[in-house]
Amino acid sequence: MNALLHMVSAEAALVGALITPLIGLVFISLLDRSPDAREASTLATGLITLLFVATIFVAVGEGARPSLTLFEMLPGLSVSFSVEPLGALFGLIASGLWLVNSVYSIGYMRGNNEKAQTRFYMSFAIAITAALGIAYSGNLLTFFLFYETLTISTFPLVSHKRDEKARAGGRIYIGILMGTSIGLLLPAIICTYWLTGTTDFVLGGIIAEHVRPTSAWTAILLCLFAYGTAKAALMPTHPWLPNAMVAPTPVSAFLHAVAVVKAGVFGIMKISLYTFGAQTLQGTIASDIILYIAAASILIASAIAMTQDNLKARLAYSTVSQLSYITLGAMLANRLGIIGGSTQIAAHALGKMTLFMCAGAIYTAAHKSLVSEMRGLARVMPYTFIAYIIGACSIIGLPPMAGSWPKFFLMLGSVDRGELILLVVLIISSLMNIVYLMAPAVRGFMDPPPESQGTEIAEAPAFCLVPAWTTAIGTIILFLLMGDLVRYLEPLVAGL
């Protein structure tokens, strides 16, 4: 294994990781007529990409910083990549879960007889390239370019069903994401370039040398960036996320628990570390503003989640809330905050993916999507619901699931920053999580099944269960490996 991961140099792996999905894309489109070969090439692409990404991950862990300049359009303006620990982590999560999700999608799409499957897989392949491009971007411009690519490539997935509802959801999705990115993120990038003369990501930030941390410019830029990356679903730019739930479940699972939303929070984390610099943000009013907005987002989104009857909508609002944890961590800008936020990217991805795949499994097996309809359901499909509980516990933050560590770090980070009120927010949020995430499981196990429920409902098929259990077990493994992950991320907080 170790030898396999050192077979190619990190630079070559970088090229490979970015190109493989595109090559896969060609195969997928050519194999339109034979679904089996098409799915095989999807899986093969996923596997090869994962190998490349893992190679990069290992190399970065060993101190390498592979970089690559694709084009230099004008001096100081280029499309280039440069990998650091945070990006390597995000890349690994994205491509690893893509592979899991591909298995799941194949079962789900076939099981539910969805149309236009070739387009579905093609869009997925572009989306993963875009996600990797974001993860490895070496400057703001590259980040923006792939950020937009991700939005556009996932749009066909969101409006996959083509009915009026899917179209309306798709319009809101692309409207909010493109509107904010072009309207806010792009001006922010332009201002940054204007102020600093560069858009490169440099650890420790590039702003501080040119603008006083306490000046209005910093605050304006931070707000532009925070809301420009609307994929982070910071309130009030969150409505795209619940609306994107019209998409097929694998899309929600992968994109709206992992790739798209994580691209947003990864962006916020990366920009605060590499454009502003943690030291710049520490204790500025600018970061305070976003900090409190994030805290408010956590509570409000949790409150809304409690009112949602549709399980996917409930999970979507839960995602809005959980994403703000990461924004919160980035804005705390101290050692524990950054570590907490970064590990939350990984922990939440695993946990939320499990939950979505369970929701999809319930829909596939029982055709039920409302929480109120799930009475007694767990009795007939216990494996699905146990996986669900594991995922839910991780999100809530109960050991021995991965989600517990980030919450712990963030709470300590809040105390470090002297914001005790945030500590209270985090605790209340966890309590709310218990209520809205555990309700379906409790209902499923405790309540008697309705009399109308026939016996035709059985345990979900294997293709749903295996990926769900993979990620569920993943949350437990990550709990155990958290020490290593924190060490891996150490370079991000060196000197803080």
Binding site: F71, M73, L74, L77, L141, I174, I182, C191
Partner: protein, 502 residues
């Protein structure tokens, strides 16, 4: 010897070739002949550009009469740049037209079509090459008159081409006449027609005649370059002209008018006086209004050619914005914008022309499911559409980037940041109309089973070359940007002298 004649050759070659075209029968021969002529002109123009970029402005005394008495051709970097642009676009659109006009114009008009095309081309090059103010008018009219007939030739497919051409003729003639009145007044003041000579004698004069001359020339050229709200002739002319003509016009005619405007503002007048500031203020204001209103109209149009015709009006606003800064960076940005937008629009209209050729309609519904029916054309449309929006790694991004950079560096009557936000928000409107087309092409199912004629290679190749250019100029922009900035610096130095007005 050839090198000495370079400034005049790109004009002379097509001008002489045009009547020859008429001698050919109505088959593919005139098209091939015209293509060769345009290619020769393009090569000559490119040679001139490299020559001018290294050795400074090239002069040529027509008929051996020296300046300021004779008509002098004077090509500086800006001129050579625009000339190369026009010639390259002609060299790409004429081969495209050989097959592209099959459905658009009557078979009996083929050789006349190419003759007109060459005359139009020669006229446009002439405007750029000449250093004589009245000569500008003559060449402007040579190109305009042939343009009217070219637009009218679209009548085979849609008779509205005739009314569009008529409107264009009336407004174009009014513009040209305004221009020539201005020239008369200038002559009255200075007694010369050589641009540099006029400038020399004009500097510092600020009286009623000079002001009237300026106002007439400004308005006349503003009409020709379709500055909002003087753009009324443009949308219909672009919509109903044969696609190859639209591609050529959209990429050259208004661009050459912008060049003429630059020439008169900075080389001929080129000194500070009240009306100059008014002109820059108008560019700023009307440019912004045009950017917004025309983009908004474009979002709601159903005819794809009309959509992009309005988009052209909006994009002209961006170029005027750059000029209004009156700094080397701003004018340089405008020149970059001119080139990049020309390439982008040529690619778009060529691709639309291919759709018209294959499916027979230019309305939105014809584009439904195009990605499946004609993947290559759809790809070219998407790439150039993205370039129009200004997505990074396309030409459009570079032009907006340099424009924004110039906006930050210039001292403007309104805050630069506001202007930048405005540019960005109008970009969102562009996302609207391009996005709508892309949505129809990729995510909608084609309506019914129409027979799709395959696009001939002679159309496909030029289209793909231009589409590739939109990408190439977005990736390797350094050359163009530095050339444009050198051109702008030269323009402003001969004129305003200070390197910046405000």
């Amino acid at each position: 010897m050839l090198l000495d004649d370079l400034p005049v050759l790109p004009v002379i070659v097509p001008l002489i070739a045009a009547p020859v075209c008429l001698l050919f029968p109505n088959n593919r021969v005139p098209g091939i002949f015209a293509s060769v002529v345009a290619a020769v002109s393009a090569i000559l123009a490119a040679m001139l550009l490299t020559d001018v970029a290294t050795n400074g402005p090239a002069n040529y005394d027509l008929g051996g009469w020296a300046a300021p008495l004779g008509i002098v051709y004077r090509v500086d970097i800006a001129g050579a740049l625009v000339m190369t642009l026009v010639a390259t676009m002609a060299a790409l659109t004429i081969p495209y037209a050989i097959r592209g006009i099959e459905k658009d114009i009557a078979p009996s008009q083929v050789s006349a079509f190419f003759a007109m095309f060459l005359i139009c081309f020669a006229g446009l090059i002439g405007v750029v090459a000449t250093g004589d103010a009245f000569n500008v008018f003559v060449f402007l009219e040579i190109s305009s008159l042939s343009t009217y007939t070219l637009v009218a030739m679209g009548a085979k497919r849609d008779r509205r081409a005739l009314t569009a051409a008529f409107t264009y003729l009336v407004l174009g003639t009014i513009g040209a006449t305004f221009f020539v009145i201005g020239l008369g007044l200038l002559y009255q003041v200075t007694g010369t027609l050589n641009m540099l000579d006029i400038h020399e004698r004009l500097v510092g004069q600020d009286n009623r005649v000079v002001r009237a001359a300026f106002a007439f020339i400004f308005t006349g050229l503003a009409l020709k370059l379709a500055m909002f709200p003087l753009h009324q002739w443009l949308p219909n002319a672009y919509t109903f002209a044969p696609s190859a003509v639209t591609a050529f016009l959209a990429s050259t005619a208004t661009k050459v008018a912008i060049y003429a405007m630059l020439r008169f503002l900075f080389t001929v007048f080129g000194f500070q006086f009240g009306f100059m500031d008014v002109a820059f203020g108008m560019f700023l204001l009307l440019g912004m209004v045009g950017m917004f209103v025309a983009s908004l109209i474009a979002v709601f149009r159903d005819d794809v050619k009309t959509v992009f015709a309005y988009s052209s009006v909006a994009q002209i606003g961006y170029m005027l914005l750059g000029i209004s800064f009156a700094t080397p960076e701003g004018v340089g940005a405008a020149l970059v914008y001119v080139v990049n937008h020309a390439v982008t629009k040529a690619a778009l209209f060529m691709a639309i022309g291919a759709v018209v050729y294959s499916i027979g309609s230019q309305k939105m519904p014809a584009f439904r499911g195009l990605a499946k029916r004609m993947p290559v054309t759809a790809g070219a449309l998407i790439v150039s559409g993205l370039a129009l929006v200004g997505v990074p790694m396309t030409a459009g991004f570079i032009s907006k980037w340099v424009l924004i950079r110039a906006a930050f560096e210039a001292t403007l009557p309104i805050p630069s940041l506001f202007l930048v936000l405005f540019i960005v928000s109008t970009t969102l409107l562009a996302v609207g109309y391009v996005g709508r087309l892309v949505w129809e092409m990729t995510l909608q199912e084609p309506e019914g089973q129409i027979e799709v004629k395959p696009v001939p290679l002679a159309m496909m190749v030029p289209m793909l070359i231009v589409a590739f250019l939109t990408f190439y100029l977005g990736v390797n922009a350094d050359g163009l940007v530095s050339l444009s900035e050198a051109a702008a610096r030269e323009l402003l130095n001969t004129g305003l002298g200070t390197g910046g007005a405000n």
